[in-house]
């Protein structure tokens, strides 16, 4: 006989409200049904009342964790409608902010994950290191969480030499700290005991289930939009996707730790190659036509569809966020898992519910 256990919406492990109705047979999950809607605001309709510049700020507030990359993707999509070229320095500024955003997001996730398996001191450790990144973001962009670094046409603020020195100094201290964290997450006996072999997804399954980001790359698929020709700038910076073969929770954790090093390297390369000059192109007129833009967020690929009709408001904005793509994979991985491991499996897709429901 099976029992239905509601997991969420208010749960100590979940920072956000989402409900999973778990069908339990003697401590083992046999079925899961997600129930969404606790964070649905209706932004895709709301933007009809705002002009396309104001929409940047709405998009940044879809999610407070990947806020910078939401703003960047939206502005890049609208630039595609206008068919304008962003000055190179503006592009580099976007990359640096985006990668800083990724570092803070991954450190945040590592902390929450550590809390999820009961390793509270590790949680505090991760969040302590994250504060240094937030300090840099605050100094350079003006806010800890919502950065507003990108505007239609380029970047909205420029970095001074002082900012760049601070940034490089922070990265120098951050790198050994990440090594410390890696030692615990990768080698610790207790951590491995909880994670290795948990919720394994084969390469084929992860691909067909339409997953994105570290969930996809943890299963051996080398798919990362920073590697594509969509955004050439990453090619110049020497980017290689981080891939792990095993497809379990442990592999997904390792992908995120490798990406921390990658992001640090990318920022250093970007700073060394960043040219001087203009940061934004002035934009005139109103957008027309339709365009799709994709960017790799900390949680995976985000798809923006924009349609303009020659007025100041966009006619349609549709956002497919990475968690939206990853949630169906839970339906496939959760059956067969013990109830006590469910929080871990849910956390390894790095759920961001406010992204998902908008």
């Amino acid at each position: 006989m099976t029992t239905i256990i509601p997991f969420g919406p208010q749960h100590p492990v979940l920072p956000e409200p989402v409900q999973l109705k778990l069908e339990i047979d003697n401590d083992v999950v046999v079925g899961a049904l997600p129930s969404l809607g606790y964070v649905h605001r209706g932004l895709e309709k709301f933007i009809n009342t705002k002009d396309y510049n104001q929409t940047t700020y709405i998009c940044e507030r879809i999610c407070g964790i990947c806020s910078a990359l939401h703003g960047i993707t939206y502005t890049r999509a609208v630039e595609k409608l206008f068919n304008v070229e962003v000055p190179e320095r503006g592009q580099y500024l976007r990359v640096i902010t985006g990668e800083l955003n990724r570092i803070h997001s991954h450190l945040l996730w590592l902390g929450l994950f550590a809390d999820g398996f009961g390793f509270e001191s590790l949680f505090y450790e991760c969040w302590k290191y994250r504060e240094a990144v937030l300090d840099v973001l605050e100094r350079t962009t003006g806010n800890r969480v919502i950065h507003s670094m990108s505007k239609v046409g380029g970047a909205s603020k420029d970095f001074t030499d002082e900012h760049i020195n601070l940034l490089l100094k922070t990265l120098d201290t951050l790198e050994p700290q990440v090594k410390d964290l890696e030692r615990v997450f990768v080698n610790n006996y207790t951590v491995k005991k909880r994670l290795v072999g948990l919720a394994t997804m084969s390469k084929q399954l992860a691909y067909e289930a339409g997953t994105a980001g570290p969930t996809l790359r943890g299963s051996g698929n080398s798919i990362d939009l920073r590697d594509s020709s969509d955004w050439d700038i990453y090619k110049d910076l020497g980017f290689k996707p981080a891939v792990e073969k095993d497809g379990d929770c442990y592999a997904r954790t390792k992908v995120r730790i490798t990406e921390l090093y990658d992001s640090i390297k990318l920022i250093r390369n970007a700073i060394s190659k960043m040219p001087k000059g203009e940061i934004a192109t002035p934009i005139k007129g109103f957008p027309t036509g339709e365009a799709i833009m994709r960017t790799e967020q900390p949680r995976g690929e985000v798809v923006y569809y924009v349609k303009g009709n020659g007025t100041k408001n966009l006619e349609r904005l549709k956002i497919r966020t990475p968690t939206f793509a990853n949630i169906p994979s839970l339906l496939l991985t959760l059956p067969g898992i013990k109830l006590a491991d469910v929080p871990l499996v849910v956390l390894t897709i790095d759920p961001c519910i406010s992204c998902t429901e908008r």
Partner: protein
């Protein structure tokens, strides 16, 4: 008009094309719904090697489009979302929330996007 876009005439052709794309190794990215000429335009987006392929399918007013969640399971969330937001009904959904994925009986009613 998007790059690499194919117009689909009827739902049988849609299912056949989607099936073919799956066999070719395409990944389901998402689906976009737009209001157009009293009906709705559905744009199915697929991805392979960072290249997108778009299928455009026009849903006549009152028509019930076929769900592709039988081919790609991950299509079920987005199709349920459009049941909520546009009042469409997809036939053959793997899990049908019946228009209550996001909304409660008390929420504002479709169309909401």
């Amino acid at each position: 008009m998007l790059e690499n876009e194919v117009e689909i005439k009827n739902s049988a052709e849609l299912l056949k094309t989607v099936e073919g794309l799956k066999n070719d190794g395409y990944r389901y990215a998402t689906m976009i719904c737009l209001k157009a000429n009293d009906g709705h335009d559905l744009i199915y987006i697929f991805d392979k090697d960072y290249k997108l392929k778009n299928l455009r399918y026009f849903v006549k007013p009152g028509e019930k489009p076929k769900s592709v969640s039988g081919i790609y399971l991950c299509a079920l969330l987005i199709e349920n979302e459009y049941q909520d937001l546009f009042g469409l009904t997809f036939e053959g959904l793997a899990i049908d929330y019946k228009g209550h994925l996001y909304l409660t009986p008390n929420s504002p009613k479709a169309p909401l996007a």
